[in-house]
Symmetry: C2
């Protein structure tokens, strides 16, 4: 059994679309489907139907990973673990994302935010393979970030919600109120895709190089990067999402990051190698679903370790309990 | 031997004063001395002399912890591990803080920033005993912060330098340029003790309650807390340092934190229990030196575990190697 290829289920639950997939432990996607995010009942039913069908096709699923838009409840001691918390997305507040999956598939279920998952994927297989501390940012309809410290995503009280920090306003942008329903002119309110359209009447793609929007956007995102350098000290910042598909933004953002740091962080990675410090994702649009795959693999590892530990404990208190040597983790 | 009380050396290397102490693993300080920070050679010689003398008095030191002003090099793979990096403090750039201690005392040496150490101490013995994720802030001559994620301080590329983020400027404070030599009006430039004096002509203590300085200061520190909630998601924020000795600031800061979050983080710890979320240190002025004690204890634990692991490895390749069962870590 152990030498057979193992397959994992992956669900990227996004605010506008769901991506469901089957993959292996090398990050290879072998089946995939996507559909728009509608109401929770029908959308989750679609996801479950895909996994059920594929589980038959691939024998069984070793584990399932679920990477969800947020905010979500990640505290395993909470009765609401696996829920979407209060969200402006109509109908989705208090949706239990995990329980029905666990009931039906009876395998380990990994669960985290979509951005933490994408960060894990870029760490495992992408642009941050060689570091242990990174931030993954997505700049699109909203702005979000996943933070990995020493290989593990930050949860804490809830999870980061980086998009809602308040950057210092750019002098060319003082008249703009911002579009965030909570804060008006927080970062998401002034630098997300909808903010760009609200301010300039068109997405970045359609604005010529001389348009002040480029300057404004790069400044806000440079401030974001600077705040992150000073607060979580990442070894790399990976920036994806629809807005960042405009590759011209990268050098502008790097310049503003250096401006806001003002020479204070005396590290060659920043001072002389900034092109490798702020980078595009390598997994592109697949970062989210590959992240769900990592969540599945990590959930399986955690379950296996927990089983080994409880078997060791059982073994130490009752030496005669049957134990399989192959099920123990390597030493 | 194992049942004898164990003593640890602790050095808090601050920018204005050094505190050197001997303590036990319950955080009790049994000997202590403090002296002003002068040039590196004489200051470190003072610290070493104290430890040498006390090591004689207490038999031996099990380990030494060194909590230093920064920036410092924490990357153990770096040739400059244990150094102070480039610092505006005259004479101290590129000082090797750890090597001479290790040479003389031949025991495990723990090393981290003063603020990470203080955060560890408040986590072990103080105001954040019941959580695993916290931030410790000091607002004084400078502004610094230590970030603990799942019980471990963040290092990453370097370590956090939270004092140098750029808060949004307060409308009552637009004329003030700030005092940070690197950035002018970064947080440290507008909210540290020297900033308050530069702006108002006196420290907070001497300004009456109606002085706008209170409003300005609370707003900047409330922004800092909000950025931290959104970026590292702490379960508690502990605020110390000279400026925070004005207890009147706490309720003002909490109000501004709630303002800047704008209801977005839907957690009862913040929405209904903010008085227990943003708190004063319990260890007061001892947080730094107690933190050095934690660094020492953690260094001893790490060294013991490394020894156990290498003995296990040696044991598995050469079964006849002598092993003491008491030196193995518990399973």
């Amino acid at each position: 059994m152990m030498d057979q290829p193992r397959f994992f289920g992956a669900v990227e639950a996004g605010g506008t679309k769901f991506v469901v997939a089957i993959g292996n432990d090398r990050g290879e996607i072998v089946a995939q489907e996507r559909f728009p995010t509608a109401d929770p009942r029908s959308t989750l039913a679609n996801a479950h139907a895909f996994l059920r069908q594929q589980a038959h096709a691939f024998g069984t699923l070793a584990a399932i990973g679920l990477a969800s838009f947020g905010p979500v409840v990640l505290d395993k001691d909470s009765a609401r673990y696996g829920f979407i918390a209060r969200t402006p997305k109509a109908g989705w507040s208090d949706t239990d994302m995990v329980a029905a999956l666990a009931r039906e598939f009876r395998c380990p279920i990994g669960f985290d935010t979509d951005v933490n998952a994408a960060a894990l994927a870029e760490h495992r297989w992408g642009a941050a393979r060689d570091v242990r501390n990174l931030v993954y940012l997505t700049i699109g309809t909203g702005i979000g970030g996943g933070v990995i410290v020493d290989g593990v995503p930050i949860h804490g009280l809830m999870h980061p919600e980086i998009g809602h920090i308040h950057p210092r306003r750019h002098p060319l942008d003082n008249g703009f109120e911002g579009v965030c329903p909570f804060h008006g002119d927080c970062l998401e309110g002034v630098a997300s895709g909808p903010a760009i359209v609200a301010r300039s009447g068109a997405p970045l793609l359609q604005l010529d190089e001389a348009h002040p929007q480029w300057t404004i956007e790069a400044d806000y995102l440079g401030q974001l990067c600077a705040q992150l350098v000073l607060t979580v000290s990442p070894q790399r910042i990976v920036m994806g999402g629809g807005v960042m598909s405009q590759a011209r933004l990268f050098p502008l953002i790097r310049t503003r990051l250096l401006h806001w740091l003002g020479g204070y962080v005396d590290r060659s990675e920043i001072l002389s190698d900034i092109d490798r410090y702020v980078v595009a994702p390598e997994l592109g649009d697949d970062a989210g679903v590959c992240g769900a795959l990592v969540l599945a693999m990590d959930a399986l590892t955690a379950a296996t370790e927990a089983t080994s530990a409880s078997m060791r404990n059982a073994g130490s208190s009752a030496k005669s309990a049957p134990r399989s040597p192959t099920s123990r983790s390597p030493r």
